[in-house]
């Protein structure tokens, strides 16, 4: 990289800019953490350093996890069930398609066209399909059912799993699989016993991206559920209407919803760029 020595003042300026940018990115989460640890009376005093400026308390968390436990755990369990199921299904069928696209040459439609076609639905505005989805789910009696959310999110996340795995399989050397085929494995056995273990990191990242995407989905969950199957995002968005400016209450709830996808995403940092751009940019 072309890197003539920068003058000191420029480097200092750049470091300051980086620090400000990082604080700016993390601040909302930090604010949520300290607000969740404040007594309601301290919330509006705008203090930022626990122990020095205010005495932290776990009261809000206690209330949240005892009095309001039913609502919170209901939402969390729906979110987990829907996100895990959707990720599992999308991963299973996406892996098959990814392997197919990486290992066979299609005659009628080109591999690239099939991949593009699977991808293209990611670019439809969700508002464009939400009404037909609502009508479809109403017909099947799936309104307010986790099944509807699983189905919708599988459809949305298939492109992620297909593209991530297609690239991962594409980078494997052919020899291992060829020798397995020569030894009499069927292509499917070759996939399961030879190729899959080798792409384990890609499998994990595809699963996590699907999980995080489903976990964070709001519009369809909002339209397709109203009480039994409302996931965490919808419950939180509803909190503000009931609770007004009870910031401490909103912040505990927000943190419970934010933690799972964030921690998972940090575990797969290396793959995140490739995953989120559907393989268009290699990270």
């Amino acid at each position: 990289m072309y890197r003539p020595q920068m003058p000191l003042w420029k480097r200092v300026l750049m470091s300051i800019a980086m620090v400000i940018a990082t604080v700016w990115l993390i601040f909302p989460i930090y604010w949520a953490v300290i607000t969740s640890l404040k007594k309601p009376a301290d919330v509006f005093k705008l203090s930022f350093i626990p122990f020095v400026q205010f005495r932290p308390t776990l009261e809000n968390w206690q209330t949240e996890l005892t009095l309001r436990a039913k609502e919170v755990f209901g939402g969390l369990s729906t979110s987990f069930i829907v996100a895990i199921s959707a990720a599992a299904v999308a991963l299973a069928i996406g892996t098959l398609a990814g392997y197919g696209l990486a290992r066979f040459r299609y005659q009628r439609w080109k591999n690239k066209d099939i991949a593009m076609w699977i991808l293209s639905q990611r670019f439809l505005p969700p508002a464009a399909t939400v009404i037909p989805f609502f009508l479809m789910m109403r017909k099947f009696g799936l309104i307010d059912s986790p099944l509807a959310l699983i189905l919708v999110n599988v459809t949305f996340t298939i492109p992620f799993t297909v593209m991530i795995l297609r690239d991962a399989f594409g980078e494997l050397p052919l020899e291992l699989e060829e020798s397995a085929l020569v030894d009499g494995c069927t292509p499917f056995q070759t996939l399961v016993w030879i190729a899959l273990p080798l792409v384990a990191p890609a499998l994990v990242s595809a699963a996590i991206i699907s999980f995080a995407f489903t976990w964070n989905e709001f519009l369809f969950a909002f339209i397709l559920t109203y009480s039994k199957a409302t996931p965490m995002t919808v419950i939180i968005a509803g909190t503000q209407d009931v609770q007004g400016v009870q910031f401490w209450y909103v912040s505990t709830r927000m943190l419970t919803a934010v933690i799972p996808p964030t921690i998972l995403a940090m575990a797969i940092q290396r793959y995140i760029v490739r995953g989120l751009t559907l393989g268009a940019v290699k990270g």
Partner: protein, 298 residues
């Protein structure tokens, strides 16, 4: 079939079994929704008042396009997309160049960039709504610390759209930084070495080496952000429900939801969704045309 990757397989149909499950799900769900949506858009239909849709041909399209509020929402959507994507690309490029030069704590900065991206847009909207509260919000507190006049943020006609753009920029600039950073790190060192020998300035190196080499990545990023900002819903829904003061944050998605879905004008809602799709395709085509198709997937 015996040989992996052989150009001619003995059983031509077998490879299709691999992609079939994905194709079936996508056709079954998205294909159905897409076709159904179009047929609804040609009718006048309120499922709770008159259960059978009345065919009106292209009537809904004519009605929508002549509705001043709808045209206003097209304008709002374009301003929102142009403002947020423009700011994200500029800040993102600056950020990527700076992070690339970092010698310490690069990992920490990269990790902290995941936080906004992994926050559900609905939750990001909510948290910023609290920050933008006129009386108790942090933003006004900081403004008063700096001796600046307080702002109405999302409660103010002039500020509601910039406020929504601000939140979008907060959430998605890191995405742009990460992608551009990945692009920068894959650039070959040779052109820069040549530039150094020729005595080029850093600015010249950026203009004549980095930008051309990064073109493909930049276009892909631009496309992603444009398409996704045109369809943004969650954040705006939380920050400016009903379009905000003076309907000045009434994007097309919000129009569809508030003006068509909520009053159960299903035909109008479906029509609005098709117009959103057409606008998205048009803008995508314009971007690709301006950049000579540099963003194709391969």
């Amino acid at each position: 079939m015996r040989r992996v990757g052989s150009p001619k397989s003995r059983r031509a149909l077998a490879p299709y079994c691999w992609v079939m499950p994905s194709v079936i799900v996508i056709v079954g769900v998205m294909g159905y929704a897409f076709a159904k949506g179009f047929s609804i858009s040609l009718t006048k239909w309120n499922p709770f008042l008159n259960p059978t849709p009345v065919p009106v041909g292209l009537g809904n399209y004519v009605k929508l396009l002549s509705d001043p509020l709808f045209r206003h929402s097209v304008y709002v959507t374009v301003v929102f997309a142009a403002g947020s994507v423009g700011a994200e690309m500029l800040l993102g490029m600056a950020g990527a160049l700076m992070v690339q030069k970092l010698r310490f704590l690069k990992g920490l900065v990269r990790t902290s960039m995941l936080i906004p991206m992994m926050l559900a847009p609905a939750i990001a909207g909510l948290i910023w709504k609290l920050f933008m509260d006129i009386d108790f919000g942090l933003l006004n507190y900081f403004l008063s610390l700096l001796g600046l006049p307080e702002i109405g943020w999302i409660a103010d006609k002039t500020w509601v759209l910039p406020s929504v753009v601000l939140v979008d920029v907060w959430q998605w600039t890191p995405f742009v930084v990460l992608i551009l950073l990945a692009g920068l790190q894959s650039l070959p060192p040779e052109p820069y070495e040549a530039a150094e020998i020729d005595g080029a300035t850093r600015l010249q190196a950026f203009r004549y080496i980095t930008l051309p080499l990064m073109k493909r990545v930049i276009v892909i990023t631009l496309l992603f952000r444009t398409i996704f900002s045109l369809r943004a819903f969650d954040t705006i829904f939380l920050l400016a429900r009903g379009g905000g003061p003076g309907q000045n944050a009434l994007t097309l998605s919000m129009y569809l939801y508030e003006r068509a879905y909520i009053p159960f004008h299903m035909g109008m809602a479906a029509t609005a969704s098709y117009i959103i799709l057409i606008i998205t395709l048009l803008i995508t085509a314009v971007i690709l045309g301006l950049t000579h198709g540099a963003g194709s997937t391969e």
